[in-house]
Amino acid sequence: MSRIETRFQDLKAEGRAALVTFITAGDPDIATCQSILDRLPAAGADLIELGMPFTDPMADGPSIQLAAQRALAAGASLAATLEMVAAFRKTDNSTPIVLMGYYNPIHTWGAERFAVDAARAGVDGLVIVDLPPEEADELVPHLRAVGLDFIVLTTPTTDDVRLPAVLANASGFVYYVSIAGVTGTASASESAIEEAVSRIRRHTSLPICVGFGIRTPAQAAGVARLAEGAVVGSAIVQAIADTIGTPATVTAPLALVEELAAGVRAARR
């Protein structure tokens, strides 16, 4: 069984949802980011999304755009991202890591070779923002071949007619983008999320994680009552940005993750 499957099964047994945390690989620099990454599970992250920095993050708001710029300026690259995962795996062999980003760096690496190298590094799945089902054929078979999950994004604009086609490629979990917009901006209402999640459930038995616009422990708890996971990105990335150059660059994001985890854990399902 994959790490992702095992993790969701264990959480189900515990009767709670997952806290999924996002940071950008190499932000603010590779060493500091590794320290944060390695401590995320102890702070309460159940799954980790690691952003692959890209010069042109078209679906991201200012916080994550700037994180990618900081990482690239500090020498981050796709190779460095895989090295960070491999280093993480030396001490943690159970927390799933999903890489999230844009297709061009993977295209440059070569989809087939990248799938092999990512699996070897200890990656569990990929979320590629600009690879809709219409174009996913060029990557998904290579992921399947090495046991990596292709985590699909569904959005408020993905209607019932389209959902089956989108979900056809899905494995691991389904990522519901709860707003039409970029990361780190607006938040959806709980009732809108509830309606969307139950709509997606009619089409899949995979766990559903909800992201975009979740910033506070209370919001995370609200989502944790409705779905199998709450994804928090920009708020954590912003905690890094706000403390750059101080020792708190590591402790501030982790403190936020602890609070978010407390929120998620309090919301029993």
């Binding site: 890209f54 078209m58 679906a59 844009y102 061009n104 809709p132 604009t157 039409a180 917009g181 970029v182």
Partner: protein
Amino acid sequence: MLYWHPFTAQAHGKLMQSLNTYRAGPDERGHFGIFGGRYVAETLMPLILDVERSYAAAKADPAFEAEFRQLLAQYVGRPNPLYHARRLTEAFGGAKIFLKREDLNHTGAHKINNCIGQILLARRMGKKRIIAETGAGQHGVATATVCALFGMDCVIYMGATDIERQQPNVYRMKLLGAEVRPVQSGAATLKDAMNDALRDWVTNVHDTYYLIGTVAGPHPYPAMVRDFQSVIGDEVRAQILAQEGRLPDSLVACIGGGSNAMGLFHPFLDETGVRIIGVEAAGHGLDKAHAASLSGGRPGVLHGNRTYLLQDNDGQIAEAHSISAGLDYPGIGPEHAWLHETGRVEYVSVTDTEAVEAFQRCTRLEGIIPALESSHAIAYAGKIAASLPADHLMVISLSGRGDKDVATIARALGDIHLGGLV
């Protein structure tokens, strides 16, 4: 005239199977060979499919075509002339030079052709808010113009660097009622403006139409923009037949994303006797900072399509450089990438310095101030014309007028005083 040519099957896939023409693309998934496609966030996919369906319906509707043609004639001022440039011909000392006068269009460039087509589509789709990216500001002005004409809200994304070097156009857009949003990210040029336009679209997907200004972006934009711009080549064909009694021997056009070039080239792609040349911006030189994606880039995925891109070994997109804001983009439309790989079109490049020289030459010899973008095409024509016979008919796309560029030119020529004044 149709003819067979040697495609490599692996590179061109499905489209190629039945192919004895260069004009059949894209396939139903928007691919030109391996290029093109729809690499966009899921939030946008349903809308993009809707744009595709709506455009297909519009294309089949004679009323849509009639309104488009009528606006081109009465509002844009088409057909514009195919002008025999006697003094440039003499100065170049060889081929007979013709200028296709897109600079005489309303708003001063070819960009308006596409904007008329897309605003009619946006209205058909019931959209009330239009967004666009712009580099030189020509597409921004053309978009603001059609929005004024149709009473739609208009937001233009423009890099802060470009706002600086294309001031007159920024003010024109504002006068026309558009909101110009400066983009600070990256090098603050066209690529960054396109990123922010896409971010706006994802956020306002319910009521907003993205009016892309060149033959790039996700399918159906490259094909749709090409179709609207093909009026350029269609007119050239009729005009040169009327004026010279035969087809041209060569076509030369500058390439930013490639819309004026594709508009001129497409109607001639299957004419084997016509040599076709696209001119990219070599900036400071191909070994330095430039904007020549085909000459100096390799295939990748950006802004919704697979095409040639300037990028590093990690797949990070490089900043382009051209003195001409309209060519300052690290990619190129996917159909050009395909025509490059098939060898049907030659792609070459011209430096900033060569373009500025050509700008001055055209201005002094013909009394026509060309856009800096178009000056790249003129410069390349000047390089090869002398080696061609006097009966060689060469058509250059004069894609726009250069009024917007006078401050940049003044600066480039070291005329600090004038550079500050205008």
